[in-house]
Symmetry: C2
Subunit: 357 residues, 2 copies
């Protein structure tokens, strides 16, 4: 076990020997010297817990040693012993020496033992507080590191979830992947045109990218049927918004996106699915994804149809203005379709952020 | 701003007034009393930074007040002022009063100002250290809370990733989902029989559950073809191990599982895919998933075939012993197929852990 270190300084070796006898039964590490100059050297080079020093010695005196300790910020507890009690020494030892105890010789052995034991307790308390303070900054830094690593891991998981879902869409159907990124591009552009301070870009782009992930549940013969679907087949297709919602809704950071996904086939007049919601009961993003989904479907070729011209596609959408589609969004699309189809900047910005690894 | 509080105790109001003048320009909150009994009351009820007390008063004396402060662990810095300097008072103020400074009257105004300023600095340093110590435990606890919340979030993401991937498999093809859970059940049972101290259950069960997720990339007409596949079609089927690997390998905690997934069609003689690995170059888990995959395929019905009897299935696998399949694993399967197909405990244990929310 670590033992405490006491330094005894007295020009009379007999005094030192008497003190050594007092501490004989204690597990102290005791250094001593009759030469107060050497004492300074020991103080400089050793971690001392308690200093017991005589006062009257050829310089440095006891008071000089106390002052020296104060000047170098030595944290040893200081005890002065003197055979010639003197008021001015006592006062100086208070005012300049930071003294802990003042003994007059001859001393009482038991008192010396008690005072030294208390001095050591005090020193250990001070040391412990110092070490807690040191630990504090170390542990705080460690925790900051752990928290920052974990935050990075959480962020990485979020990105990897989007990336792996996109891989699933891409490997299922490359055309569906491009449709998804087109809807993401168009919807972020329209959201920006609708409100340049729009706040929900992350949820919107994630919803747009994953809005059709539920289509993995549709059999190819229905999904790629080059003819009109019968009722039973259409019911299976309609289910993709529920499947998509359920796959995505497992993740806390995608819950808002999941609800947008579920709404992207709702229509203003209540003719949509799955809930037949009307007007403002459909979220802004649900309405926005709906119009972008249809617009990209019209302007892209599918297994069962050629693509429409842009003008014809806009005409079709205009016919649904206020009935199927949000009037404001139809107007924004019709007036800005060049920007909406061409501008990659907003999409690229958020896409790179939601998929960065 | 918080101002420091000084308590002045002297039975001579003129002394108090002189001291007040000294501190006139300082923003100290100064309390004073000529009644040392009242001083005790103030010390009990106020947070004092510095006490300046006269010595000779009707009891309690200055020394009594210092001792009292020490006894109640009052952390105020203590300064004694006396018109009658006395050695024994000085020594007692050291040994029992924890004194900071000893003044003889008359004092030097500048010296008093300096000593009080230093005393206040010291007290503020002590207070600051105390408050850091208090903060330490508070902040440590806060960080522990944050870390534990984040660890829970990370764990939840891991589970949600498995759950959402399983939802994708299940919504694509319910039969494929049951095949995946069967392979998970058989492979964890065989791993346990192979080595009751087997350590890799988490990576194994995740790999087993997701080993065929790459099949979402195969067109239905190939995946469900009720006849032999041509070369081109077979190449598309083979690709599912790569697609599966790539979807799963995005997640750090699934990287080991991803490599098992990539290996589940490798065969001992190098006739498997995608790499044509041989013998021990295929991981234990790759070999294990391979045999379980085939065994469940044989014992289950598929669109293009009826299911085989268990005995016939084992015969088919036995023919591949050491050639296609790991001999030890073939033996374990043949000797324990009842347990392997029937025991749900190991599967349930790990399945509930990897999907718990």
């Amino acid at each position: 076990m670590f033992s405490n270190t006491i330094l005894i300084i007295d020009d009379d070796i007999k005094v030192i020997k008497s003190l050594l006898r007092i501490f004989h039964d204690y597990n102290y590490n005791i250094l001593y010297t009759t030469d107060s100059k050497k004492a300074i050297n020991i103080i400089d080079n050793t971690n001392i817990d308690v200093i017991i020093t005589d006062q009257i010695m050829s310089p440095p005196t006891g008071i000089d040693i106390l002052k020296y300790c104060n000047n170098i910020n030595c944290k040893a507890i200081k005890i002065l012993m003197t055979g010639y009690p003197d008021l001015s020494v006592a006062v100086t030892s208070i005012n300049e020496g930071g003294i802990y105890h003042y003994f007059s010789k001859p001393w009482n052995d038991n008192e010396v033992r008690d005072v030294v034991r208390n001095a050591i307790s005090l020193k250990m308390k001070i040391d412990k507080e110092d070490s807690i303070l040191e630990d504090f900054y170390k542990i705080k830094k460690q925790y900051q590191g752990i928290v920052s690593d974990m935050a990075y891991k959480i962020e990485t998981y979020r990105h990897s979830i989007i990336i792996s879902m996109l891989k699933i869409i891409k490997s299922k159907d490359l055309g569906l992947y491009y449709h998804s990124t087109n809807v993401a591009k168009y919807s972020t552009n329209i959201a920006f045109l609708f409100d340049s301070c729009y706040k929900n870009f992350y949820s919107l782009i994630n919803a747009a990218l994953l809005h059709d992930i539920g289509k993995i549940a549709i059999r190819d013969k229905i999904l790629y049927k080059p003819a009109k679907l019968n009722n039973n087949e259409f019911e299976q297709v309609k289910n993709h918004v529920i499947v998509g919602y359920e796959i995505v809704n497992d993740f806390d950071f995608l819950k808002t996106s999941a609800s947008f996904i579920r709404e992207h086939h709702e229509r203003m007049d209540g003719s949509g699915y799955p809930k037949g919601l009307k007007f403002e009961d459909i979220s802004f993003e649900g309405r926005l994804l709906g119009i972008c989904d249809v617009f990209d479907a019209l302007t892209s070729s599918r297994p069962y149809k050629e693509k429409y011209e842009i003008a014809d596609s806009l005409d079709i959408i205009l016919k649904g203005k206020g009935v199927l589609f949000d009037s404001t969004l139809v107007d924004i699309l019709c007036e800005n379709y060049n920007f909406i189809m061409g501008n990659e900047n907003i999409f690229n910005l958020y896409f790179s952020e939601v998929t960065a690894t």
